[in-house]
Symmetry: C2
DNA sequence: AAGCTTCATTTTGTCGACAATAATAGCTGT
DNA sequence: ACAGCTATTATTGTCGACAAAATGAAGCTT
């Protein structure tokens, strides 16, 4: 199982438009902070305004755009403050996810997770450090899903992670932190394997906190 | 300031319909688990299907209804498991909120919060135990807002709290826990006043955990 | 020249009709 | 009688047009 398992399948036209728009927003094709004109988008994406409106509504529930009545929708603007706040929420939620994963993941899921980390280790040792983007995501997603908590999964996977990715792409954070992050991952998995809820949560929180500090440092540099 | 400060003001017709529908769902006027027919609702509320659809979309972002493409929307069904999961998320988020409140609340806000608790104390001492519903909410809302974290506020105030209220109303949990809860509140505020982030988070988490355990006990009784 | 009012234009909100999909009932064949 | 298929019905999805509100420009007043 890869993170491709999360590829939502679009059945309606509004689905496709929503997914397309989300990509365009996250990747910055449509710049952050800009206004979303319904008529403009409806001609651009070749769908009716109703479809666009529905797509925008869904984007709003992801916190990717903000709407004001009788005025319109604009893409959220990216601020250092906003990113910090995002990481605070992420720390709380993923910490809890790790705790619940330690309680709820099946032995088989844990084994899979362990072997996943082994693969990453081979890759990292092999000198390639593409790690961060795919591997890191895979690691975090499995633990989030492992929590078996529907609300947690929803908020993190459909909400926060897209926003974080938007920050990462647009503020350019391909970041190092590869090898150190790997050790942190290893320790979290070990705690989960030991069914140590307390420790799993604490380690995950620290992992995310380090990541936040790392990003904060970068932001202040530029 | 009271919690009435959160009364969202409805400007468009979709706003009003959304708010009305939310009340009807939370209060159980429309029973949990039932299907939401667009045409039916549009005649019932005297608005076009377009505004019903928009309202349903927003209800979906609150996690009060679930939609399936080409099939329709139904109100979420209330399960003990779901309530437990909700409290897990709440514990994580409000714990973080208390931590951030200890860091970010102004001295004046803290003073207000303290005097609020004093008022509650007078009321509780006076024998009336209406406490829980209004007072408890006021306490928690202030701390959530005190975190100054927009994401936290959004998820808790617009999402989780309505769901929790739905559970409380429909599964009938006017709950005691008045006096003990009051002491817990007092300790949390004390920690915030001392700017002790660590302790504030821990105490808030325990407070919510106790509350969860209390509810779990009741669920198993019935 | 600055500020206010008024009017034109643009954009969002709402509506009813049509298209497409899913659920249902009835029919047919074995 | 039952299973499977087909046609009918009901419901959701999509569209274009109209209504209402906000933005921006022009003209007037001071």
């Amino acid at each position: 199982m890869s993170i491709a398992a999360f590829a939502e399948q679009a059945v309606t036209s509004a689905d496709k438009t929503f997914l397309q728009l989300r990509v365009d927003i996250v990747e910055g094709t449509i710049p952050a902070g800009s206004k979303l004109s319904e008529t403009e988008l409806s001609t651009k994406y070749q769908v009716s305004r109703a479809v666009i409106r529905e797509a925008i509504n869904r984007l709003e529930s992801c916190h990717l755009v903000e709407r004001k009545a009788n005025v319109g929708a604009r893409i959220v603007s990216l601020t250092p403050e906003g990113l910090i706040q995002l990481y605070q929420v992420r720390e709380a939620l993923e910490g809890m996810a790790a705790r619940l994963a330690a309680k709820n993941m099946s032995d088989e899921e844990i084994a899979d997770l362990t072997s996943l980390l082994d693969n990453h280790f081979q890759t990292v040792k092999g000198g390639e450090s593409y790690y961060q983007e795919a591997g890191d995501l895979d690691f975090h997603y499995r633990i989030i899903l492992g929590s078996k908590n529907q609300h947690l999964i929803e908020v993190l996977v459909n909400g926060i992670y897209h926003l974080i990715r938007m920050y990462r792409v647009q503020l350019g954070m391909a970041g190092p932190r590869v090898t150190t992050a790997f050790d942190e991952h290893k320790n979290v998995v070990q705690a989960i394997a030991n069914r140590d809820e307390e420790l799993a949560e604490m380690l995950m929180r620290r992992h995310i906190l380090y990541s936040k500090n790392n990003i904060e440092r970068k932001l202040l540099q530029s």
